[in-house]
Structure formats: structure tokens, C-alpha cells
């Protein structure tokens, strides 16, 4: 019996020693990982600071003003002026959505004539479809494709 207990104790001590050894090494590994991660965080923070500084530098008002001047032909940007303020009432009432003729019956739209804008005027009529007449040779499949492309909109 004593021998058995002795062996059992010895085995327990061995097992515990093995476990402690493993824990020790895992702790060291985690510590090293933490250090690496902390130094990575530090580097990333540093980079973030550089990027923030660069963003602020590139967005400094002097530079933006110069860029706006250089690209005036393309962008036409000017300092803000008082007359650029608008009021909500100055915006045209949005045209009602163009109804799909094939699916909506005329009786189904009685509410429209009652609608008025803030000025008390009837709402503007929806813009007439741009394709008034079918070009010679019959209506193509896709009407948009035949819309004239504005030439020279880009020739600054």
C-alpha cells in the first residue's frame, strides 16, 4: 500500500511539474505576443498620426484655395457669397412621378389636381417625354440610346 501511494504521489508530482512547465512557457509566449502587439499598436498609432497630419496638411485652406484657382476653368469654384443661400420655398415642387401608362388607369389618379405647391400654384406638369417623334426608320428598342449626346460639353 505504501509503495502504491508513493508511486501515486511521484506520478502526481511529475504531472504537476509538467503542467507548471507548460504554463510557464505559454505565459512567456503570450507575454512576447503582447509586447509585439503593443509595439504594433504603437507603430499604427504613429502612422495614424502621420496620416492625420498629412490629411490636415493637404486640406489646409491655403492649398485648397490655390487648387480651386488652378482648376477654375474646370470647377468654377468661387468663395461662398451671400446670394448662394436659398430657401426651401424657392425650390420647385418635385414633379410627380411619371405614371406608367400601361398599368395605371386614368381614374386612379384623382388626387393630383388638388396638390399645390407652397405658392398656391398647381404643381408643375411633369416634363413631356423627350422623344416626340419616332426617328425615320422606326422606334429603336431603347429610346435613351438615340438621345442626342451634347457635343462640346467638355471642350474647355
Amino acid at each position: 500500500m505504501r509503495v502504491f501511494f508513493g508511486l501515486l504521489l511521484g506520478a502526481t508530482v511529475l504531472a504537476l511539474a509538467f503542467w507548471a512547465y507548460q504554463e510557464n512557457y505559454r505565459t512567456r509566449e503570450v507575454l512576447a505576443e503582447t509586447r509585439a502587439m503593443q509595439s504594433e499598436i504603437g507603430h499604427l498609432r504613429e502612422q495614424l498620426g502621420v496620416l492625420k497630419a498629412e490629411w490636415a496638411y493637404l486640406n489646409r485652406p491655403d492649398r485648397l484655395r490655390e487648387l480651386a484657382d488652378l482648376n477654375f476653368a474646370r470647377l468654377g469654384l468661387l468663395p461662398m457669397t451671400p446670394n448662394q443661400f436659398g430657401k426651401v420655398s424657392e425650390i420647385a415642387y418635385p414633379p410627380p412621378p411619371v405614371a406608367d401608362v400601361e398599368t395605371v388607369e386614368i381614374d386612379a389618379m384623382p388626387a393630383l389636381p388638388n396638390a399645390t405647391t407652397e405658392d398656391g400654384l398647381p404643381p408643375p406638369k411633369p416634363a413631356a417625354p423627350t422623344i416626340l417623334a419616332a426617328p425615320a426608320g422606326g422606334l429603336p428598342e431603347d429610346p435613351i440610346a438615340t438621345l442626342p449626346i451634347e457635343e462640346g460639353a467638355d471642350n474647355e
Partner: protein, 597 residues
Amino acid sequence: MSEPRRPLRPLAPVLRARERGENPDLIERENRARRSDALRDRLRRQAEGRLLVLSVFFIAAFAAVGVRMGTLATSVPVEPTRLGGGSQITSARADIVDRNGRLMATNLVTQALYAHPQEMVDIPGAVAQLAAIFPDIDAAALEARLEDKNRKFVWIRKTLSPEEIQAVYDIGDPGLLFASRDMRIYPNGHLAAHVLGGASFGTEGVNAAEVIGVAGIEKAFDDRLRDPAELDKPLQLSIDVTVQSAVTEVLEGGMHLMHAKGASAVIMDVHSGEIISMVSLPDFDPNDRPQPLTTGDQSDSPLFNRAVQGVYELGSVFKILTVSAALDEGVVNVNTVVNTQSPMRWGRFKISDFHNYGPSLSVRNVIVKSSNVGTAHIAQMLGGPRQKAFLESLGLFEPTPVELFEAPSGRPLLPGKWGEIQSMTISYGHGMSTSPVHLASAYSSLVNGGTLVKPTLLKQSGWTLGPQVIKPETSATVRSLLRDVVVKGTATFGNVPGYDVGGKTGSADKPRPNGGYYRDKVLATFAGTFPAHDPKYVFVVSLDEGYEIVNGQAFRTAGWTAVPVTAEIIRRIAPLLGLPPEIEPASADGVREARRG
């Protein structure tokens, strides 16, 4: 042990035993046994002592382990961190942002260059190559320092760009070494230079260097910016970078057009006292802060903040202060007719107007036409003590509480004795010097309904309602007076359609250093508010020694110089401040007419 050693065979007992016919060997055996007993006792005592010492040692060792385990088990786990090589220099510094969170000052990591001369291979060659990289370096002096046998350590450059670092690496001298640094940068360059001030290095080491503020808000808030607990929280200013940039651009243009040698502008929120924009020209780049002047007038240095440090006799812009005190005390109302016969004589002094405005004017017209004589008479009616107390209540006797390191140096200059003549000259802005920020906060207090505001450079969370300095009705009257100056008085160039500007001009002859005044040097100031019917912002714009030539004649008064510049500033910044143009409410006109009649 001290007892004498007993012989094994003592002669006397042996002889006695022989006589008795006994064996003397017995005596010897007995003695031997006694001796060995003594020896045994001694060894046992020794062994017991050793065991005791050993057990104490073991108990102590196990107790130590046990206590350590106990403390580890009961203590809060902390993440182990690497100590920074024993260096105690902290280089961290919080950012500074504007009221909309745009970055105004931040830190960048960079490298400093130093040398260990004893490790250098080729000092003359390295110095020649360094001089090629840094053209501003004094090569001869550097070489002398490196060749000095007593030196083991030489700083060469405080900050390096990445390209310069590479170029120094390419020299390849083992004695040239790099030290890591945090460097303060101001991405907006000159913008708001006087507000920010600047930073430089304090204690320097190889691992880090302290970054300390040297002027402006950087120095005033040095402790806050370096506080480790608040490093992540940027310091938010009341300055708006966009507005600041527009004001600087317009003011710079105006300064050159008007041939002025300096200019300043302050835009302040009338309710909170927040300074939205503070410009002083000429300015400097805080990234490369110039050295202070060693000779001449410090106020000509670009480092000088005219808006805060500069105390000037601001001239007629002061008239509204004395007049509003007189209105508030009920001494006069806007229609009271005052004597404006020019020149006015008081003892050996003579007060005269820019033009002769006839024998008398109403108080309203005294302000609109800016009559010195009329204001002096109003000051006489009000009396010196009441005038003094009123100006003091506006905070004009103390340096401004603005959070700048330089603010305490902007102490107003007051007359030694507040007699009647001083009271009269101060009523039209001579004999007392204040800074533009003083004036801006005084105007804010007058037009915002009469509550005192304190100028501040930090973003406030809302309005601060200070003590009442004048009645709300008086404040409304003051607004209408200021508006009239722009509509039909000395500041007609200041009218900006839609923004209802109200203000007062001031053209003060500059005092000579040794007494008297220059005839041809004028500090032109335009101070006022917009929109006048419901003030949001107060402005104070000054041009130093500006003039405009029209038809071959030089005009120096503020109406010709500071006012048009201010109008352009308002035209530019009002949309940026989110103020839509509005038509002045007609009802306000009615109220004014009724009061007038």
C-alpha cells in the same frame, strides 16, 4: 569545556588502587567513558543548533514563497509592459483642433541627428557631406566641435525629414547616430500662428525629447497638453479655421492695398465670448518660429500679437462706450441736443473735431458724425467717476482673460489721474490704451442685450450669461446707433447688403514715443456687429498706418481704410458662419422712429 583535562590514569588513584590490589585499568576505562560522554553531549548540542538554523531558513524560504503566491493570487492582474529603457522623458502632447474638429497642431515622429566623435572614421569628409545635405549648417564650427577631443557627444540637427535621414545613412559613418523625437507640427502653416504660438524641445535625450510650448495657447495650456490622462482628448479651440483663413486672406489683401504696416482682426461671438477668428499681421510660421527681435520695437516683430498684446489708443470707437453709459444712466437720450461748437476749450486744452459740425447735434448725430466735442460734453454730463466705473465694469482696466500666454502683457494703459480732461479725452478714445480683444468684448457686452462677456479661445458649450452691465433697452439703442453710423455716418462703405452691419469707426493719431501725436500716422479701427438687429458676431478690424489715395489725395480715416476691408471680410465670412442674408426687419425701423420722435 573550560575544566582542566583529566588524565586517563591519574597517579594518586592508580597508586591507591594498587595498594588495595585492584585493577588500575578500571580507573582508566571509567575516565575514558566519562570523556566520550562529554564529547557526545557536545556534538548533540551542535547538531541541534544546526537543525534549528536550517529549519528557520526553510521556514523563511517557504513563507516567502507562500506570501508571494498569496499576493499574486489576491492582486489585480496587470498587463506587463516593457519599460522604456529607464527614460523618464515624456514627449507626448495632445493635439489642438478648431471648433469643427479640424487639426491645428499635432505631433509627428522624427529623428534627431547626433554624433559620437570618438567613433567617427572620417570627420572632415562626413562634415563636408553633412554640409551638402544641410546647406544652413556651419561646417567649420561643426568640424571644430567634432574634432574637440573633450567632446564625446555632439548634437547636429534637431529634426530630420525622411529624405535627410536616408542621405545621412548614405554617408555611412558609424559615429553619426539618430535619436527618436516627437516633433510638433502645425499643418495650417501661418494660419492662426499667434493663437497657437509654437513649441520647441525641452529636456533632450537620445530616446525622447520633451516638447514644450513656447508661446500662445501652447504655452498657456502646456500642463494640460502634456497631462498623460488627457493625451487622447484634443484641446478644442473656439477658432474656426475656415473663417480664420478667409479673414486672413482679406485682411492681408486690405493691408497691402492700404499700404498699412500691420493689421489685426478679431471676430467674436457676442453671446459666448468665443473668439471665432483672431488675426494679427504680419504673422509667422509656427513650424519655424522666428527669433524675437533683439533691437528695435518689439511691436514690429511678426511674433507680436496685435490683437492681444498690442494696447493702442483706439480713438472714436470708444465714443459709444461713454455714450452708452450716459444713455443707461439716463443722463441723456438719443435726442438730447449737445453742444458741438468746435474747438472746445477746457483750461489750456483744446478739443476740436475733424470737421466742424455746427453749434449743436443730437446724441444720435454725435455718434453718427463722430464728434469729439459732442462726446466730450456727454462725458462731462456723465461725470468722470461714473464713466470710470462703467469702463471698469466692461473689463477694460485689466488684461484680457484670453487663454494666451501673452495675454497678461496686454495690460491697458490708464491715465494716472482720472480728472475731467482725462475723462473727456477718454470719451473719444485718447488717453487710455486697450487691446482690440478688450474692445471686442466690450462691444459684445454692449450689443448682446447688455450682459458681460469674457473673451475666450476655448469652445464653449453654450451661452454664458454674465452680469448685466447695461439695460437691454440701452443695448437696443446702442445697436440702432451703430447701425446708423453705417447707414448714414462715417462707415457707409461698411454696408453689406443682407447683413445689416452696425459699427463705429475710429481713426486715432498714433502717439509719438516722446510725447505728442504724429500728424500722418493713424491707427484706423472699425468695430461693430452684424446683424445689427439681432447681433451674432462682433468684429474689430484695425489697420496700422494705412492710407488710401483717391484723386491724388491720401485718406487716412477708418471710413476709407478699415471699413471697406471689414465689409469684404463680412461678405466673405457671413456665409461661412451660416448666416443667410436677410432683409432688416421693418418693425425695428418703426421702433427706432418712435423712440426718436
